[in-house]
Subunit: 351 residues, 4 copies
């Protein structure tokens, strides 16, 4: 059994890790840290897990937590992961960081968008960006996995098959993303109150969301482009729902190209042919976020708009599963040589 | 492997059976019938199950479907189950009927509330009311299991520990129930449109809901009362949510009795001590329907209101799982001698 | 023009007062106080009122605010109204208190349920409980109007026509109430986050909600009963919606009585015959909270359940309008001799 | 008093017209037609309007309805407006058509997108596209007003100030629009059930929505471009909410241009300087659909993304008010020489 600990276990991604790991047949949960709920039974914080887990929350003692586990899942606000990651590396433990600190390979870009100094830039080089569908082999041998952001997961799955194919302007993508409110975590602030989110839609952090450079970094890498020359627009919107992200991507076809929708769809189907979690839909079938509710599955729809010379792609995921905790477990499975779907087989819950 | 067929597979309870049975390690799905979608791949109707099931919908050929299966799940509107149940009995197959036709033991009561003639009253006697927490042993050896209604499941779990204890007036219960919209099924009618249900609450079928006699029948049986002398009020309400039932039950203490909340809670905890799906909460902790979202678990909260001489109990379930398809599988597990939790281990999905 | 000031103008009831008063043809808004947003334009806090109001929020200077106005609306947490009310009385200004401090006529009851000492019990005697349909004449000449709680408004409208008629046990009512999340105000706490409220229903404060004694006080008064002998059960539930309360009331018929539903309905229709805001529905028509969305209207449905000997009544209101700010304006209209519907004519918004 | 009739009064836009017109001080409602509910009191269909209107629904007798009214509002499915419009023209009555039949000036374009033959192409020339902020003067003297679609209203308000200014590529706009479910009307179909829409987001009619040519027509006109050379992408999405549209528009700056956000904002503020219903927000403030809930107001946010060379604009409206019935009344006010805001003064309802 793999002994796993979750650092920051009482946020929504922490709770989702607990839900999934308690049913993972190769994992034993050995630590759940929480500053706010230390020493309380985990199930008093999350009663829906009654009978699934009988650990108490514990304080965030880096050495004790790390020593007791084979792998750590870090579910912390940005800026707080470094000492944990350093401890894992030092003690030879695997670590999957669900936060943002190790996603951007260049400390300067991190500091520009997050406006804090990166405390361990020397570790960035060995962190692997944990999107298994794109970097499976590198993840298998990694020590540090930087679990992708929820929006980048949906965005990159949307465009990866096109990148470097000479079909679209990868540097000029427009990504209009819609997310449920759980993406903001379990933090008490007025903007996330029911009365403010319900029956309401808005854009936010327009032209300055921190997932923008993450998307550009990975698209540039796959497309073989200069990351500094990327001009991808990413606009997040808050939806009146709890879970789910739908990314709608607009990609301009290169001058003179007009592939058919079926040609493009074939490209996607080949690219994702062996992917257990990725489903490319038929023409005219557009993914619904609820199809992925509670599951690690992603659904991709696409068409070619000949009239305008654009490919339009929409991808639906559950932001807390494929966009966070499920993907983290998928990465853990790779790190430990398990079948990638272990513990993640469940379908979404519909309706 | 148990070969299972679902009759009426494209309604919401049918889809939920498919979701759960495709992950049940002892079951092979061999038939999915649908009049509306015959010959279409099941996953075109429910894409969230892509990769989980590759059957086509088939027509409702009673002999063919029954012959191919060891157990049938009937998810049909009331009045349509009889020929299927008769075929199962004739061919020695087990049947779990999720509809209403075999829940009421007296044909006259059925006919009074459902306003149709029962076509096979002779079969009623051997149907077992499939609430495993109350009738486990009888279910094990049944041929026909009448799966309880969603509201009766929540209501009966709320009051069973009190019945026959001499503490409350079982015949005078008031049950105020709140249900998500999926309880009405996937039928296109104006009253179930998003615009009509969202941001809206109403009572419906007040004083005449068909689950009322079902609740009275089972409470009377457990309490040793005359079913014709029951005067239980049951008021269903439609909530702006998809899944979940919360039953709020008001039970008058018998004259002169004032047990403490902890005494009553102990009664509940003893009653449900070995039940894997039932969770009795501490004083002051009131169940939330979302705790059970997508799961077979039920959560019970209660207190004694000394000032008024009443016990107040609330029970939360997922109407499509413990209230329908999950419970049907729990019954199937009993019918086939499997551990009762097989295929139903998952926790609810929160948030 | 009546000069009106709102104290605590940036909560939800404050915002609703602003929305309604800016369209009230006899009112000029002269003051909006807010500790949190002092000196900021009101429309930066509530942009939906852009173009409707151009005041800045101001600090809570009791003398200055009171001197400038003819009437004060107090939208403050309980315990904070006393100095404002005292100032109004001292300066001869009218005051409508939307908080709880002046609703309970007996300081001891207030202190028992609210667990704070009442600072001005001597003022309680002259506060009038501001439910116009029940106390219109007393309100006209009041100096202090205690605006009812949202739940008591729906509850009392449900049962007032029955009180003192010798038909039901007024002292044994059960009120099962369902409220939207805006009832909890615009306070940042985890329990009111979208992810916690959406797709979820729960009971809360069972057997100890502070609106319970308020309901008992008014029912006792109308029924001519001893307030200390009341045993009304009141159970509030949180709904996944922003606005609206539905109160479902269960009233036991007195021994031997079995009035017809139409007899009881006639009683209601006579009682509310001249009420512009109260609508008694036909048999079988059950109110929906959305009918009252954004309006001061209340909808009442009822039936007699002969089988159990109970009357069941449901009443739907908008908790922020008839349950708070609209009713406060209705009271103000009475205080100033205006037609009672002034500024409140609008219908609900549906769907 | 203007005598107004509504043809197709029991759909959602019809109900919204009734709600608004019953409070319009210059209008008397004289006819409400409905095939489905003929001879029934209107308030049995829409009880939220109890006390506001006492008409019965009537059959769709063109002559009788038209003779009795000064203005007709047509709220019919596309293809059904022609005989009503012809009757109005013949009898000298004004008509505001909320349907699609008179929005596209070229019958061939209508027939291409709607796949039906236009029955009266000769009337198209005199229909005025009723977006008052753009065509106020032409509307004043029109006989036929073609009320814009909900999506085009939000889209055109988003981009009108930029059109013809030489700043952006008007022909290459991308419009990603999000709409509440009421936009689909009160039609019973599975896709609009609560269980299908709630907690769910999807794109639909991608690259083929009928509002696309309407947007292109009006943008081309304002920008002085060839309508056949337009290549605007319009992607509608269904949101889990009842009301509201948010249009997110991406406009590429022309080669070499990099105006500041404030320069662009000034352009918008000048353009809409005297518009009572249009609110241009400050930098960093992004409109929320709920700000416009139930009201005729529109809120516009924008920024310039220098990094990519794009302007991003979001506009929020209530699809049933500014996107349909409110705008229709605004047009009626213009047709009859009334102040444009008459009957439309109310702010949105928040929260």
């Amino acid at each position: 059994m793999i002994r796993a600990a979750i650092v920051g276990a009482t946020g929504y991604t922490g709770a989702e890790l607990v839900r999934l790991l308690t049913r993972h047949r190769e994992v034993e949960l050995v630590g759940l840290t929480s500053r706010q709920y230390a020493d309380q039974p985990y199930t008093t914080v999350y009663p829906h897990l009654s009978g699934q887990v009988d650990l108490n929350c514990q304080t965030q003692d880096i050495d004790a937590v790390t020593d007791a586990a084979d792998v750590l899942f870090l579910a912390l606000p940005h800026g707080l992961s470094v000492p944990w990651v350093a401890a894992c590396v030092g003690k030879g433990k695997k670590v999957v960081d669900l936060g943002a600190d190790f996603r951007l390979r260049r400390a300067a870009v991190y500091e520009q968008w997050y406006r804090v100094t990166h405390e361990a830039p020397e570790l960035l080089a060995e962190a692997v960006y944990g999107l298994p569908e794109l970097k499976r082999e590198r993840i298998r041998t990694a020590r540090i996995v930087a679990n992708p952001g929820c929006y980048p997961t949906a965005s990159l799955l949307s465009v990866a098959p096109l990148c470097g194919q000479g079909i679209v302007r990868e540097d000029r993508l427009i990504i209009d993303a819609k997310s449920g409110a759980s993406g903001a975590g379990r933090n008490a602030n007025v903007g996330n109150l029911y009365g403010e989110v319900n029956e309401n839609v808005k854009a936010y952090n327009v032209a300055k969301h921190r997932h923008n450079p993450e998307i550009e970094q990975e698209v540039a890498e796959r497309a073989g482009l200069d990351p500094d020359a990327m001009a991808i627009t990413f606009t997040p919107h808050l939806m009146p729902m709890t879970r789910g992200i739908l990314a709608t991507v607009y990609a301009d076809l290169k001058e003179g190209l007009r592939p058919s929708a079926e040609e493009v769809r074939d490209l996607y189907r080949q690219f994702y042919a062996n992917e257990p979690f990725i489903h490319v839909m038929d023409e005219g079938v557009w993914p619904q976020t609820k199809w992925s509710y509670g599951s690690n599955h992603a659904f991709i729809g696409l068409t070619v708009e000949g009239r305008t010379g654009r490919i339009i792609i929409t991808t639906a995921i559950d932001n807390l599963v494929k966009g966070a905790s499920g993907q983290a477990i998928q990465n853990m499975n790779l790190l430990f040589g398990l079948p990638e779907t272990t513990g993640l087989e469940a379908a979404g819950i519909y309706p």
